[in-house]
Symmetry: C2
Subunit: 435 residues, 2 copies
């Protein structure tokens, strides 16, 4: 029997995957089934973004978001109850010793345990800010109406996505960013592009600032300045692995600040104990949690199989307006050539009045093998898979240059950059290398 | 010196490509520079679609479309004038004999001639319909305001794109389709999906019908029925190669009904005479005209180079709502397995209230090599390149299954179908074939 702790994306992937292959699984969950993704993450946030873009009134949109997440969660619960070999145990688990768990008084033992407890919002104390005005992704979607002035603390994925959504719903929105750039993990060109998009939408962005006092709608900032009329504050200053109840030290595990360390098969240091999803230092997205979960299923049910290079090519996606998506080899070449195109230079950028879009490619000189790709574009999250495939399959720009891309699309950017690369490459290299 | 006849997409690609490589080029054009794409095709239609989706008033949107196409055309004209080695001759060309042209009285001779005269709308006579109410793509964008009731004759790319655009601009729109399906070149699943999308937008679709008489806003249909209040009719019943002025028979060329026959290098039967774009039977899109043009440049300037399989993998794209895009091997396997997913079954389909989206893959059994892909999705034209690459590079579904797709996106459809294929494939085949 395999024990899976946590019924979020990663845990569900492992539990359902193993059960369908005929393995007995016990799935332990103290909160709602579906975890963050279904209840406080992707499902409500993407539903809200969609409804906000449709121009639906805020109160109606927020109510519809709650209806949708309840429907997904109950569908997932039904799915679990209808899956043979799978037992759902409602309760919070904690380790007593390496292979022994306590689930609110019940003792559960297994030599195979998968930790998938996810993450929670990092806390931030703002003196004077009352709890009913304090939001994180966990209670944001319980709002009944859009705030007058939403101050968002943070410059990451959640901060950006919710800034655009609440602006569309009619709120005044101000982003308070501690550092001097947005989406710090992305290429340096992304932040100025997103600042342009935010300001065009009427969202104010303040860099190098942090809130330190709140009183009667007035938010005081450090090192200077203040915001007036703030009736809601969204804290989006990062995520912490959700380990507080689990007592992993009793299992012999020592988590780092980013979470549990795992190898390519999601194995922790303790034999038979795996970890997937946000609770590991290796994943920040639902799709990476799912990918880890699929690998654990393979490992447990099918024995050892090679991981293959594709497993290390994990795209990122931000569902802002425009979207941001990127993908990068785990170990890119030491010296890369960077190619860059502003998408407004394309015909489709012109017909669609595109302002901030861009494609940036990092390429190994000579061979033309892609090392990384960054897209800022309306549908970047759908377009990035071309590059994920090119990276995973070691497809060079010489070969991407031979493809035919539909006209007029933003995908033509790839052809433009490939043309530039091939034009400037020493003649004959391609034929000599046979690539 | 190379002579290029026609300054549309295909002709410009050849002329600019050769001139930049140092070859002397004479480019002959009787109409506006940019051809159909710039003046009566992609640029105005995609601009109109964009402005219509933004909710701009019809008169304003149509004026902006005319401003945009004028800007693109004058930019292209400037580009031509600023390109060394290139001479633009304004006038209509006709053959006197194989390597001799007459351009409105001027004699032009060359052993290397590229025909790129494009296509024109197929005519359709509707007795009683006055010229000022008769539109094709050639005069559609000169409208000052949206019609009250636009009848569109046809069920192809232009018909669908303009149906959605004019519905958005406020017109009542009725599609009159002669056969029993839309987009007849696409997979059979596409037509019912698009009918659903059209009807949801409030567009009426009548199949197996054709207009035969018009009087005072009343359009009589055959075999039965009539439409009232029709103040504009868009004829979109196909395209004919634009050969009427060229007198290609004097060059020894015998065009078929679809246009000039060419080989993979766009060579006609007469040595030194090439043809690219809509005037050939091998191209229906701007991007395929451009791809042909690039190949001609390679052939003329760089000598023989292998074409490679990518050259035969030409995607199609329809910019409707949702978009339709597909790609297919020129010679697919005789026996294919078809995999299909309705995109509303994906989480992103659910959050975005998607109704008609679909992904259909045709796959060689056992090996899992893709033979064709069809997408109906909001951004299908941007998503199709993943499949173009997979087809061109012979990447199997086994390998597409190992990729990580961002969550929640419609690209996950690929993973779902790949999972289904792998699950149902006989065990061990993959490892045995090493794919």
């Amino acid at each position: 029997m395999t024990v899976v702790i946590g019924a979020g994306s990663g845990g569900l992937t492992v539990a359902l995957g193993l059960a369908r292959l005929g393995r007995k699984v016990t799935l332990i969950e103290g909160g709602p089934v579906g975890g963050d993704c279904t209840n406080t993450g992707c499902i409500p946030s993407k539903s809200l973004i969609h409804l906000a873009r449709q121009g639906r009134p805020a109160g109606e949109a927020l109510a519809e978001v709650r209806r949708k997440r309840a429907e997904v969660s109950s569908r997932e619960t039904e799915l679990l109850h209808g899956t043979p070999n799978l037992t759902l145990v409602k309760g919070w688990a904690r380790f007593l010793e390496p292979y022994v768990l306590d689930v609110q008084g019940m003792r559960v033992e297994s030599r195979e345990i998968v930790i998938a407890t996810g993450s929670r919002p990092a806390p931030l104390e703002i003196p004077g800010l009352p709890p009913e005005r304090t939001f994180t992704n966990e209670n944001l979607f319980s709002m009944e109406r859009a705030p007058e002035h939403l101050a968002i603390v943070g410059g990451g994925v959640i901060a950006l996505e919710m800034a655009f959504a609440f602006r569309r719903l009619g709120s005044q929105v101000t982003l308070l960013v501690r550092s001097d750039r947005l989406l710090a993990r992305e290429s340096a060109r992304v932040s100025p592009a997103m600042v342009g998009a935010l300001e065009r939408s009427g969202i104010r962005v303040l860099f190098n600032t942090r809130p330190f006092l709140y009183a009667d709608g007035l938010m005081k900032l450090r090192p200077e300045g203040e915001l007036g009329g703030v009736d809601a504050v969204l804290l989006a200053v990062g995520r912490l692995p959700r380990l507080e109840r689990l007592e992993v030290d009793r299992a012999g595990l020592i988590p780092g600040s980013g979470g549990l360390a795992v190898d390519d098969w999601c194995r922790t240091d303790i034999r038979g104990i795996y970890a997937v999803g946000d609770v590991t230092a290796a994943s920040r997205f639902t799709h990476s949690a799912n990918a880890q979960g699929r690998r654990v299923v393979q490992r447990i049910a099918l024995g050892w199989l090679p991981v293959g290079p594709a497993a290390w090519v994990i795209p990122s996606a931000v569902f802002s307006e425009p979207e941001v998506a990127s993908v990068r080899l785990a170990r890119p070449a030491a010296h890369c050539r960077t190619l860059f195109l502003a998408l407004k230079e394309l015909d489709r950028g012109y017909t669609d009045d595109l302002q901030e879009g861009l494609l940036e490619l990092e390429v190994e000189p000579w061979t033309g093998y892609l090392q990384a790709a960054t897209l800022v574009a309306p549908h970047a999250s759908e377009m990035i898979s071309l590059f994920t495939l090119a990276l995973a399959e070691r497809i060079s720009l010489y070969r991407l240059q031979r493809l035919v891309y539909p006209y007029p699309t933003l995908s033509e950017a790839t052809l433009r950059l490939a043309d530039e690369f091939v034009r400037e490459s020493p003649g004959g290299v391609r034929r000599w290398l046979k690539i």
